[in-house]
Structure formats: C-alpha cells, structure tokens
C-alpha cells in the first residue's frame, strides 16, 4: 500500500512536470499576446510524430540528443511562421480574440486529421530514453521517468533564464506588461509576438517528444492534452507562469491519485470540478492578477 502510494506520487510528479511544460507555453502566449491557441495540442502531437520520424522511420544517429537538438529550431520555425501567416493578420480587427480562437480551432482540426491521413489512424510508439530501472526492494523507479522529469525541469529553468536574462526575454516581458510602452522604446512588437508564439510551440513539441514515450502517439490525442493545459492555465491564472507551475503539479497529482483510486474515467470529471470550484472562489485563477 505504502509503495503503491509512492508510485502514484511519482507518476503524479512526472505528469506534473510535463504538464507544467505544456501549460507554461500556453500561458506565455496568452500573457504576452492575448491570443488563445487552440491548436496547442496538435503541436504536441506533431512533437511525437517528429520524434517518431527521426527515431523509427529514419533512425538518425545520436538518438534522442539529435531529436531534441533538431526539434528546437524546427518548432521555432513552425511556430514563427504560423503566427506570422495566420494570427498576425487578424490582430488589426476589433474582435480578433474570438477570431483567433476560431482559427486555431480550425487549425487543430486540420492538423489532427492531416496526421491521421499521413501517418494512419493507428497509434505509434517511440522507444524510451532507456529501459533501466532503479530498484530499492519493492520500490521501482524508471530511469526514463527521471529523464523526463529532468528534461522538463531543465526546459522550465531554461525558459526562466531566457525571460529574465536575455535581451529578447526582457523584450518579451516588457511587451507583456505594456505593448504600447514597449513599442515606444523601440521593441519590435510584432516580432516579439511571433517569437513568443514560437517559444510556446517549442515547449509543446518538447512535451510531445517527452510524454509520447509513455503515452503512445495518437493522431487525435492533441485535444486531450490541450484541454489539460487549458484547465491548468485557467486554474493557475491565465498569463501567470508561476501559477501554472503550481497548478500543473496540483493537477498532475490529482490525476494520478484519482486515476489510481477511482479509475481513469473520473479523472476528467474531478479535474473540471476542481477547476469550477476554484473559479467560483477566485474568478482569475490561483495567481491571476485582478
């Protein structure tokens, strides 16, 4: 019983770390550009297929190191282009927030079904980082879990470093705080918007590469992840990175424990109930600014 609880706790921790990666990307875009990206889950699935193509289909040398190193520029370009082509033209009009939601919903439908017709409707699996395990008596930890946890924490710390210490990161923060003021001091706002979107796409793709080792790659799996990331961002407070970090771990734990105790069917209901209760008490989420 005790070891089971520890197991569930660890799986909650792993879930939480990957969810935080996903949710932070979503909340970053919302906080900076005020655009809500419904196609976020599809970029996650794209990350899974990217890893599958490189590792299984083409068998590139270097394994995961190559995948991660190539994934960063790949997703940056994809994200940058989709912002420039799809979202930037809408920004001139009054009701663009609604339009962006509709457009990205269409984009996610297009991407999901494109995956299905290109890669086939069957789920695919990618090899895990390692098959090794730690064993302490009854108690087992997969090396893979540790690796996933480490990579996602590194991504988070890297993002934090970029935001706080580099010029582009500071420009992003300035634009989030006051777009007009940022423009006056010479920050190229449109470039920042596109770059932020691209960074969030990298995070989604990374999430896909990491989590698809545990969960199989499903062409329709994006919406599920999307909903989770969305719930986490709303729960933590939209636009608040720290809030979504906390929320990701709380909901990761909730998912692990509810799934273990009551069955996976109740996970979604429990998550959404928690969200509704939180929003009823704090309409802006845990750490949302009033």
């Amino acid at each position: 019983m005790f070891f089971e609880i520890i197991d569930v706790f660890i799986s909650g921790l792993i879930n939480g770390s990957v969810y935080s990666l996903m949710a932070v990307g979503l909340t970053l875009v919302y906080g900076v550009t005020k655009a809500f990206n419904f196609a976020y889950g599809s970029f996650y699935v794209l990350g899974g297929y990217f890893a599958w193509l490189l590792l299984v289909r083409y068998g590139v040398p270097g394994g995961y190191l190559t995948v991660i190193v190539t994934a960063v520029p790949f997703f940056f370009v994809i994200g940058f282009l989709s912002e420039k082509i799809l979202i930037a033209p809408l920004r001139r009009y009054g009701d663009w927030e609604m339009k962006v939601m509709m457009l990205t919903l269409g984009l996610s439908l297009f991407m999901d079904y494109s995956f299905q017709s290109v890669f086939g409707p069957r789920v695919k699996s990618i090899p895990s980082f390692t098959e090794d395990i730690f064993e302490f008596g009854d108690f087992v930890i997969l090396h893979q879990d540790i690796a996933i946890f480490t990579v996602s924490i590194c991504c988070m710390l890297g993002l934090r470093w970029v935001l706080n210490n580099t010029r582009i990161g500071m420009a992003v923060m300035a634009t989030a705080q006051n777009p007009v003021g940022a423009q006056i001091v010479g920050i190229p706002k449109d470039f920042i918007y596109a770059a932020t979107f691209a960074i969030s796409t990298i995070l989604a793709g990374m999430g896909g590469i990491l989590l698809c080792q545990k969960n199989l790659i499903n062409p329709m799996g994006g919406s599920d992840i999307m909903i989770k990331a969305w719930v986490i961002t709303a729960f933590g407070g939209m636009g608040s990175i720290r809030g979504s970090l906390y929320a990701a771990f709380i909901l990761g734990m909730l998912e692990a424990f509810v799934g273990w105790y009551f069955g996976m069917m109740y996970v979604q209901i429990a998550t959404l109930t928690l969200l509704l209760v939180t929003l009823a008490v704090r309409p802006k989420g845990l750490l949302g600014r009033e």
Partner: protein, 325 residues
C-alpha cells in the same frame, strides 16, 4: 441592420425554403433542407449569445446534445409523449444553461469559453459512463429507438419527410421571430451595451447579471428544443454528436454569416450544410478540408457574407472603422 431589412431577408429565406420541397422529392434533399432549418436556429442562438451579448460561449453543441438526450430519455425510459418531452427537454436545457451561466457571470472572456467548453468535454464521459447509463443514455451505444413525434395519431418520422419538414419550418419561423423580437427589443440593446462596456451598462442601470443569465437561459432553451426535435427526427442518438466536426460545422456557419450580424448565420447555415453534404464523398478527408476552410474563411471573410453586402450597399467612405452590426 434595420428591423425591416432583417425581416425581409428572413422572410425571403424561409419563403424559398418553404417552396423548395415542391421541386424535389428525393429523401436526401429533404433531409438536407430539414437539417438546414434546425442548424439555422441553433447557429442563430450562438450568434445571439456570442455576437450580441459578447459571451464567448463554446457550449452550444453541448446544449444541443443535452436537449436531444433529455427528450430521448424522457420518451424512451419514462414513456412521455414526444409532444410533451420536447418542450420539457428545452426547459431542462434552459436550466442547464442557467447552471452553466452562473459561474460565468464573474468570469472574463476566455474563462467563460473554458467553462462552457468544459461542459462539452464532460458530457462524453458522463453519457458513456455508468452515471449516464443509470439515467438511460445507453452508454457507448447510444439510444437507438427514439420514438417519432405523433400528432393526432399521425407519426412524423423518417418516412414522412415532407410533413416533418413543414413542422420544422413552422417551429423554426416561430423561434426565429422570438429571436428577432429579442434582438430588436430593449433586451437586445442591453446585450449590446453589456458587450461593448459592462461598466457603462451598469452605469445606465442595466444589470449585466440579469441579462447574461437571461441570454444563457433563452439560447439554451431554444437550442435544447431543436436538439430534441432532431432526436425525434433521426430516431437514434450517440455521443458522436459531440465530435469536433459538428462543432466546427457550427463554427463555419458563424464565420460565414458574420459574428453579430444576425440574419447572416441563417443564410450561412444553408450554405454550410449544403457544402458539408457535397464534401461527404471525401470521407475521412472531410474534417481536414473543413479545418482548412475555417482557416481560410477566418482570414479572408471578416464580416461574413453580410459584411460583403454591407460593403457594397453602404456609402460610407472606405477606411472608417465599421465594426457595426
């Protein structure tokens, strides 16, 4: 848009719809025509809540399905005649609308979208799970034997498409008139004020809570009513109705018709349902193409078809901000 022009467009549209069955006898065509009528009302409701009241509600399909299931369960498991169960299902959906609307009163735009979409997401596991089976949703299989509407011993079912079409037409016209009346009354004005500025609305003495709840209740009642009608028309229900392509179809109607440009969605419903039927032979590529259509339409068709007409009709100089409705 002036009341006169609104009535003229709607009158012409429903007149054409009413005449069309005379020229076609094929069951396929009648099915499309009936679905156009149903979707036109559902899309209009979405336009009222999103375009006029400015509430980013993404639960419209969920309300539609709640209405359909409520009426089906009432008539299958409890033996209530569809004549009673359809309005009852509308009322049940209206209550759901108020329940969902209550937490949305205090929330900002994107949170409302999440809460309403959450309703959509919870419905699938609920209807398929043991809780849904307990109230008679039929689980993953769905409800296969929804009885047809019977009026004085005459059954309106899939075999009698023409009478059912006219029954739907009458109901559609009644509810369209209700919606027009709401949009043009002081309610509709209040919705617009709340959309534009909630603070200004409250300074005028317009209680935003009251009107927001009202618009939730009204649109979900009508949506549920037509969901119920649909249930008794097709005779079987499953959770497939909650799939993303139904949602996208409804969204295309909104984009084509123009958000907040009321009679636009009605005409857009006709266009969208027809195009969707034409795409049917493409099978699994259809949702993909629909997604691409959404992207292209949102990028190119900013004011919807109504926007295009307004551009030609209005003498306003180009470049002025015309976010008008």
């Amino acid at each position: 848009m002036s009341l006169k022009r609104m009535i003229a467009i709607l009158g012409a549209f429903y007149l054409v719809m009413g005449v069309l069955p005379i020229f076609t006898g094929s069951a396929d065509h009648l099915n499309i025509l009936t679905m156009i009528l149903i979707w036109a009302v559902v899309a209009s409701c979405w336009d009222v809540i999103m375009g006029f009241a400015g509430i980013l509600s993404f639960g419209q399909v969920a309300f539609y399905v709640i209405g359909a299931y409520a009426s089906a369960i009432l008539s299958v498991s409890h033996g209530i005649s569809p004549l009673v169960s359809i309005p009852l299902a509308g009322c049940i959906t209206g209550v759901f609308g108020i329940i969902v609307g209550l937490p949305c009163l205090k929330l900002a735009g994107h949170y409302v979208a999440l809460v309403t979409f959450a309703l959509h997401m919870v419905l699938v596991p609920f209807l398929r799970g043991p809780l849904g089976r307990a109230i008679g949703s039929g689980g993953a299989q769905g409800i296969l034997t929804v009885p047809p509407i019977e009026l004085f011993g005459y059954a309106f079912n899939a075999d009698t498409l023409v009478p059912f079409f006219y029954l739907t037409l009458v109901l559609t016209i009644i509810f369209t008139l209700v919606l027009v009346a709401v949009i043009k009354s002081h309610w509709g004005q209040a919705f617009l004020v709340i959309k534009d500025s909630e603070q200004f609305a409250s300074s005028l003495g317009v209680c935003s809570y009251k009107y927001k709840l009202m618009v939730f209740a009204l649109t979900s009642f009508i949506t549920g009513f037509f969901g119920a009608l649909y249930a008794h028309y097709v005779g079987m229900l499953s959770t497939k109705m909650l799939s993303m392509d139904v949602f996208t179809l409804l969204m295309i109607m909104m984009v084509v018709g123009g958000i907040g440009k009321y009679p636009g969605v009605v005409i857009a419903a006709a266009i969208t349902v027809t195009i969707n039927q034409l795409l049917a032979p493409l099978g699994m590529y259809r949702p993909q193409i629909m997604g691409a259509i959404v992207i292209l339409l949102v990028l190119t068709l900013r004011g919807g078809i109504v926007g295009i007409f307004e551009k030609f009709l209005s003498s306003r100089p180009e470049g002025g901000i015309s976010l008008g409705r």
